[in-house]
Amino acid sequence: MLTATRKPFILLGALSVLCVAVIIVSLATGSADVTIGQLWSALTTRESSIQSQVVWELRIPRTFAALITGGLLGLAGVIMQVLLRNPLADPYILGVSGGASASALALLLAGFSAAWVPQAAFVGAIFSILVVFGLANAGGRWSVTRLLLTGVVVSAGWGAVINILLTSTSTNTVQSMLFWLMGDLSQSRIRFWQIAVLVSGLLAAMLLARPLNVLIRGELAAMSLGVNVHRLRVSLYLAASVLTATAVTISGSIGFVGLVIPHTLRLLGARDHRLLIPLSALMGGSFLTVADVLARTVVAPQQLPTGVVTAIIGVPMFLVILRSTMKQH
């Protein structure tokens, strides 16, 4: 525990280096050729070459969209897994992305411009968060099982709404709806408030890291060690939900980041939440950036939805992790 061993710092250092490397690769890769030298002069001099334009107007926004979204999802995932005490929990399990998607799709179906999709998604996500919170909270008692069931059921409800919307839409619009549903960064632009959500969410989660270490031991054990479990859980639910809603607003529902990243880090030895929380954000961001580089290069000049690539990498990664954890027991 951040005390006797050097392992935490090794992990933190290694992942930071990896993250920087990933950013450089992402900035240097794409359909237009930009060498490392050109990248350097574009970043340092802001000359008005084509390379500089590509870097500043296309690659930097997209790379940072991937980094921020991945960070949000990694963080939301680790929080959701502690909150629900369920290894299969991911940021979307309680219906946040369902609400966002239904709302965004309804907007597209109604013929509004795609420029309004992020706003519609955010409103839908917040609506879903409040519905689940209200239903799970009815009667004052707020058990994890009840929250999980309510969330999963509401999520299934959104799924039905999404299907209705998809089947009653003309083929042209369906194409862009599907991209959004699978999660895609090609249209993403980061706004300042989204970075602020990530930073404040990260800080808040770090401050809750010690109580989280107690909470994973179970409700009663945590209560007996002085944790106000109810208040902590409500905070966790709201934090994870807002982080997820923000991520969905940027990029649609990109899967697997929030599920796989915390598990991978636990297997690498980061079990203490004081370490696991910052690392999840860091590795989530790196992972999604890599996935996005692949999404825009593998079938270039065509682009894949980023969410498809995370699934293609994430599914085998998760299965391998699952196998190795089963061997441990």
Partner: protein
Amino acid sequence: MVVLELERLEVRIGGKLICRDLDLQLTEGEVLGILGRNGVGKTTLLHSCMDFFPPASGNVRIHGANLQSLKRQQLARKIGLLFQESDSSLSATVLETVLLGRHPYSENIFWDSEEDIELCRITLALLGMDKLENRQVSTLSGGEKQRLAIALLLAQDPAVFLLDEPSNHLDIDFQIKVLDLITQRAKQNKAATVMASHDINLVSRFCDRVLLLLGDGEFLSGSTSSILNSNNLNRAFQCKIAQTQISGRNYFLPE
């Protein structure tokens, strides 16, 4: 001075009555044993003293303060519970686990203090576990896990020790050593101890007073010598229990 006080306490779980009109005061250093058949409500009674759920009626007070008036953190500094079973599937090292006992006191929101780490190492040594501090908890034996849970409780340093089956998984020598350790620590720190156990002989050896739960809310309460006899035990356990003496100590055995 009274440490733990139960006042006209009525506890129910799932409609089942555990006790009614239970009055009890424990002073500094006193040890109370709770005995009774499986399912009679020993654990539930301990849990109601932790304010895990509110009592049907009556009060639990600690140092004169009603449980419900205390915040969780204050409560955790006053009462500590040794759980009957602890979840050991989580991956954490032995030292990390004992350090959780210092959580109610942590002033730094992020780091563990050097004093706490030192105190936890000393506590582990008391239980013969100082060489295991970097071991994963999941690799420990049942008895080692139980000693670890006791180390955590000692590190928590409460004014009331609640012990739910403290001898679980322990070898016979450690059963005695561990209870000696806890009751001595309790006397030093002017703490009270409540132990729920199915082992009549351990209760007879370590407890000043006994609460014998008979089922349907009935109970017998009094000094150990007045409660522990064949008659009362026959009634509580519904089997014939004989009493014998070995070197001045009372022992109880099924006939």
